[in-house]
Amino acid sequence: MMKLPAIDMMEVETGQPGAYTGALMNSTEELVARVRGGDEEAFRLIFDRYARPLLSFIYDMVGERELAEDLTQETFVRAYKGLSGLRDEARLSTWLFSIAKNVARESLRTRRRHAGHVELDDDEVVFELHDERPSPAGDLLDKELSGVIRRALSKLDEDKRLVFTLKVFQQRSYEEIAEITGFSVGKLKTDLHRARAEMRRRIGPYLGGEQ
C-alpha cells in the first residue's frame, strides 16, 4: 500500500517559534502556535473551523441573528486577545465556547436590564398556532419546526438553555459542558433533564403520537 506523505512533513520551520512557511498544518495545537507567532491565516483557519458552531451556539442563546453575529465577532476578537493565556491548546474548542458563553450571557444580562426582559411566559403561544391539529413531526416543514424549537428554546431559563444547547445541539460531553459553564456535573445533569422535559412539553404537540 502506498504511503502518502504526511502533510506535516511539508512544513518548514523558519526558525521563529511557532512560525511556519507551510500553511497546511491544521492541528489545533499547531494552529494556536502559528497564531501566537502572528500568522493571520492560521487564525482564519480557526475561524473557519469554529465560526459555525459558535454562531449557532450564540444564536441559540440570544435568539437574534444580527446580535448573534456581533457576539460571534466579539468572541473571536476576545479569543485572539487571550490566546496567549490558553494553557491547553488541545482544548481550544472548549475554551472558545467558554468565551462565547460569557459574551452571550453578558449580552443577555445587558438586554434584560435595558428591556426589563418581558419574556413571553405563555406556553400556549406556541400551541395556539398549531394546536387545532398537531401534525406529526415528519409533516412539518423544517422551517416551521425550527420556529417551534426556537420559541421553545427561548422559554428555557438561561442555565437550562445553556446546558441544553451545549448537549443537544453541540453534542458536548458533560465534562466539557461543566468546563464551559462552570457548573457542577450534578447541576448540569439536573438542568439538562429539566430542559429536555420542558422542551418535550413545548414541542410535544408537533411530534404527533410519538411522544
Partner: protein, 360 residues
C-alpha cells in the same frame, strides 16, 4: 435492574455518560424491557428532531472581515501599549537628534579621547620595551569610532557619556555596575537597576548639549531628583521624552493600579463628554470621542489581560463593563444617526457606567 433504576439513568445512557459496567447493565435491561427501550427511543427521536433545527444565522464572509478588523485594532493597541514601544520611539528620536549633532559638538570628546589614547599608547610603547602591563587608561584605548568605556564610578561624569550620536551598545556603561542605561539628548537617562525602572537626569550631558540643541535650559545640577522634580524636569526638556518619563514615573509609583486608575479616569472623561453631547450632535463633533474611544479600547484590552493574568477580579469586572461602551462609541459610523447616539447614551444611563467607574 429495575425499571425505575433504568429510567433514572436513561438520559445519561443515551448521552453516553455512564461507566462501562452500568452501561452494560442498562443495555441488558433494555433488551428485556419494552417500556425502558421505548423511553430510549423517544430520546433518540427527539434528538433527530432537534438535529433538523435550522437557524437563521449563517457564517458570512463579512463576519470574518469584522473579526479581522477587530483583531487589527487589537494588534495596533498592543503595539501602542507595549512597554518597549515608548523606549523604541525615544531611541529613534534620540538617534535622529544626535545624528544631527554628531559632526559638531557631540563627536569632539570622542575624538579627543581617541587622540589621547593613541598618544598615551605611543608614549607607553616608546618607554616600555618589555611591554609590561600599562596603566588602565592607556591599556584600553578606545577602538576606532568608539568612545572609551568609562569607569563605573563615573557614570554621570562627562567622560562616561556616549556622545557620538549612535545607539551603539558598546558605548553603554559597563554591565558590571548592575545598571544598563539609555541616555538621551536631553540628559535624561532611563536606568534599569535591579529590575526596578527608574529615571535619573544627567545634568552634565544636558548642559553640554544645551548650546547645540534648541532645547530649553537644562535642569539644575542634581544627580538624583525626586520623582515630581524628575517629571517636571523631563517635561521641560522635551515633549517627546515627556511621555516616556511620565510613564516611567507612573510605573514607579504603582505599576498596575496607576495605569488602571489613569485609564478609568480617561474613560470616565470620555463617557461624560459623550453623555453631555447635545442630542443634535453631528458626526464631525463626535470624531474626537470615537478616536479616543478606540485608543481606550485598545488600552482596555491590554489591561483586561493584565487583570485576568494577575487574578484581579474587581479590575477585570470594571474593564469588562466598560468595554461594550467603548466599543459602541468607537464603532459609531461617520454619519451616525441621533438614534444610535441616543441609544448608547441610554444604555450608559441604565448601566450607570460612569458611576461604576467613579466608585472603582
Amino acid at each position: 435492574m429495575r425499571c425505575e433504576d433504568c429510567l433514572s439513568v436513561v438520559e445519561e445512557y443515551f448521552d453516553g455518560e455512564l461507566e462501562t459496567k452500568q452501561t452494560e447493565r442498562v443495555s441488558a435491561h433494555m433488551a428485556a424491557c419494552a417500556d425502558c427501550a421505548a423511553a430510549l427511543d423517544a430520546l433518540s427521536f427527539e434528538q433527530d428532531i432537534y438535529l433538523r433545527y435550522e437557524r437563521e444565522a449563517e457564517v458570512t464572509p463579512a463576519l470574518w472581515q469584522q473579526v479581522r478588523a477587530g483583531v487589527g485594532r487589537l494588534d495596533e493597541a498592543e503595539k501602542a501599549t507595549r512597554p518597549a514601544s515608548p523606549l523604541a520611539r525615544l531611541r529613534g528620536r534620540l538617534a535622529a537628534s544626535l545624528s544631527a549633532l554628531a559632526p559638531r559638538a557631540a563627536f569632539a570628546p570622542t575624538l579627543a579621547l581617541l587622540v589621547l589614547g593613541v598618544a598615551l599608547g605611543a608614549l607607553w610603547l616608546s618607554r616600555t620595551p618589555d611591554h609590561r602591563p600599562a596603566p588602565e587608561l592607556a591599556s584600553n584605548p578606545a577602538p576606532e569610532g568608539r568612545a572609551a568605556a568609562p569607569p563605573a564610578a563615573q557614570t554621570n561624569t562627562p567622560a562616561a557619556v556616549n556622545d557620538n550620536g549612535t545607539s551603539n551598545k558598546s558605548n553603554q556603561p559597563a554591565p558590571a555596575r548592575g545598571a544598563a542605561g539609555l541616555e538621551g539628548a536631553a540628559g535624561v537617562r532611563f536606568v534599569n537597576a535591579g529590575g526596578v525602572n527608574a529615571a535619573v537626569v544627567n545634568p552634565a550631558a544636558a548642559a553640554r548639549r544645551a548650546p547645540a540643541a534648541p532645547a530649553p535650559a537644562p535642569p539644575p545640577p542634581a544627580d538624583h531628583l525626586r520623582e515630581p522634580e524628575l517629571l517636571a524636569a523631563a517635561a521641560a526638556e522635551s515633549p517627546a521624552v515627556d511621555d516616556v518619563v511620565a510613564a516611567a514615573g507612573v510605573r514607579l509609583l504603582d505599576p498596575e493600579e496607576k495605569e488602571m486608575a489613569r485609564h478609568l479616569e480617561q474613560a470616565q472623561a470620555l463617557l461624560r463628554s459623550f453623555q453631555n453631547e447635545a442630542p443634535e450632535t453631528d458626526a464631525v463633533a463626535l470624531a474626537y470621542e470615537r478616536r479616543l474611544s478606540r485608543r481606550l479600547l485598545e488600552e482596555n484590552a491590554s489591561l483586561q489581560l493584565g487583570a485576568e493574568t494577575a487574578g484581579r477580579e474587581e479590575s477585570k469586572q470594571v474593564l469588562d463593563t466598560l468595554e461594550p461602551f467603548l466599543l459602541d462609541i468607537a464603532n459609531l459610523r461617520d454619519n451616525a444617526s441621533r438614534d444610535e447616539v441616543r441609544s448608547i447614551k441610554e444604555r450608559m444611563r441604565k448601566r450607570e457606567i460612569i458611576a461604576a467607574l467613579t466608585v472603582y
